[in-house]
Symmetry: C2
Subunit: 372 residues, 2 copies
């Protein structure tokens, strides 16, 4: 699968631009603030119907303009797809596939798989458990509708249960039996989610290790361990034991909504003991494992977007990454870099077909093609 | 002022190492995970008596060792200072200045001014108001003991007031008049803090603009605006108006503990609309302004530590930064970089005396000196 071309209108710092991409590597170079990441974000919009960086759609409209539009043509398994996403101030976001309006974003999500590696992703490692749950849930929801439905159901019941706990704590005389009903629902869904996560993370860990060992030349080893309240006890027992405490806390203190995934490097916490470069290598391995799993499941190589990832990696690790690109492990790749001479130096080592786009203030001022 | 040499024992990934530094530029190069940032952190310990990266001192001891020790010799205004910081498991951290034990960290802090620019600092821009208050408070507390005392007093009273609000909300019959007493104290200290911040940030903004304009060649303009509940109303009035709400919220909803500093780029929120490179440039300008203010106040050029800052900056902006170094705007500088050939390329353009340390797995495997 690959994105053949894109057209942007009033998107972020772009007034109007139309680009035709290489099936291989597309390198976006330009000075700080020129609009490299914004172009990646437009591609992200076509795949995920939303921005990777700014959740408020309207803020992605070019300043003082009334709308933005992004259109692209994708090629997947020998079929052509015209996909577009546009937004007018005061209106709903509009999604189209092959000139047909789509009612829901979910009709598009998953159709064009993509993996973005961006500097901000570091929060998956450095922040609290919520970020890691979000990362894994995001992947698992894309790959299993059952998982998605279980998760939605669980979270909905959890919210109701917490509201009830609040009322109980305030002695507002609510229906206390309702708690039993909620508990049963949470136990059923929660236990399914637990087993699903356990299996998935086990499978994922193997891929993660494979990629980390490759990137680091096995200089150090990492691991990724699933940690849940349900590891030691049945969920039913946990909820029963903690009921009194839950009422006084006014929230559900045990359950799969508190799960974490522990990242380690040579048996120490990666967050505390990994260097910046090691954390970056880990993040890349994490995303490459995601790429693997998505490819296996969708039978399509996702579009890979690498935003400023050369930073902080030493030459050995960059070399390894380029080798993956050159060995056609990936399909279409987009790379941004603020320093053109560095990119040229790297790309010279790579045989794949490539295109370099020089960006300046929301304009593509030069485009060069290199076919192998 | 400069750090002449340092001795590390069991600190992070260093078993034992002793280094003599250049008065000019010291460049630390090595692969990911070799220990570049750890060396900067040891210098940070000597200046601030704590780690810049890990608040839990004990986790900075080399794995499976019982203690760490850092010793350094500083030269400041023609005087020599021997400073050391050590920690033994199960004991208090030990600080020494010229072989005399120090009782409190505050005896050392401020004596050796230093400014660190690290990738994690991005949170000052991207996170909530608390990070910005912390950044500005940190600077202002170092420069004014009155400010520090006012802030400690205010925060203490705020805590007491919130506890009282909690008791009032629970109808536990506490002394309601106490609220008036707390209010008076908060009004006095809070108003002083407000005026202090207002003046300081105004002065700071001029320096910030100067540095940003220089780094970006005036390509875009930034601003930094102080925003406080006290801008529109007297604190007394605010507390009176919000008292009922405060009781139901069980916390003080108005006051200088909610202040923010708004960063903008070309009149739009930097956090939302600044590119990664622009945010990085802003962060550097922020730290250079801090450098300026500290130099003015202490009559000493702080030690400058640049951790991986070439990343994400385009060549123009890196050139500007190197010009500052070469024009002796700074004193002693420490730079880390994972890619030696890049560093060499940059340092070749700089006339200042310099030393390059090649680091591998907690050892300095090579050291080269270049005097101009």
């Amino acid at each position: 699968m690959f994105l053949e071309n894109i057209y942007l209108n009033n998107f972020k710092n772009y007034s109007e631009v139309s680009l035709t991409f290489s099936e291989g590597i597309n390198s976006l170079v330009g000075k700080n603030g020129s609009g490299k990441t914004n172009l990646l974000d437009a591609i992200y919009y076509l795949c995920f119907t939303k921005s990777a960086f700014n959740a408020i759609d309207i803020q992605n409209i070019r300043h003082e303009q009334p709308y933005f539009a992004i259109r692209g043509r994708m090629k997947k398994h020998e079929h052509d797809y015209a996909v577009s996403c546009s937004l007018k101030t005061g209106h709903k976001k509009r999604l189209k596939l092959n000139n047909k309006d789509l009612d829901r974003a979910s009709e598009l999500i998953g159709l064009f798989p993509a993996v973005l590696i961006a500097p901000n992703d570091g929060s998956i490692i450095t922040e609290g458990s919520e970020m890691r749950r979000k990362f894994f849930d995001g992947m698992m929801c894309q790959l299993s509708r059952t998982y998605l439905q279980n998760l939605v159901h669980y979270n909905h019941t959890l919210k109701q249960r917490n509201t009830l706990l609040k009322l109980l704590a305030e002695n507002s005389n609510p229906d206390a039996d309702l708690l039993d009903t909620y508990d049963v629902q949470m136990i059923v869904k929660g236990t399914q989610i637990y087993h699903h996560r356990k299996n998935f993370i086990e499978k994922f860990t193997h891929l993660l290790n494979k990629h980390y060992d490759f990137i680091s030349s096995e200089k150090e080893h990492v691991s990724c361990k699933y940690k849940s309240d349900l590891d030691q006890n049945e969920f039913k027992l946990l909820l029963r034991e903690s009921r009194n405490r839950d009422v006084s806390l006014q929230r559900t203190s045990r359950g799969i909504h508190r799960d974490d995934v522990i990242f380690e490097i040579d048996n120490y916490a990666l967050k505390k003991f990994g260097s910046q470069g090691q954390q970056k290598s880990f993040l890349i391995a994490l995303k490459l494992a995601q790429f693997d799993i998505m490819e296996q499941d969708t039978n399509t190589k996702p579009i890979l977007m690498l935003d400023d990832i050369f930073d902080k990696l030493d030459d050995d690790r960059i070399g390894k990454l380029l080798k993956l690109i050159d060995d056609h492990f990936f399909g279409q790749v987009f790379i941004t870099d603020a320093r053109p001479e560095r990119t040229m130096q790297f790309l010279n080592r790579v045989e794949s077909p490539k295109k370099i786009f020089e960006i300046e203030d929301g304009f593509v001022i030069r485009e060069r093609s290199y076919e192998s």
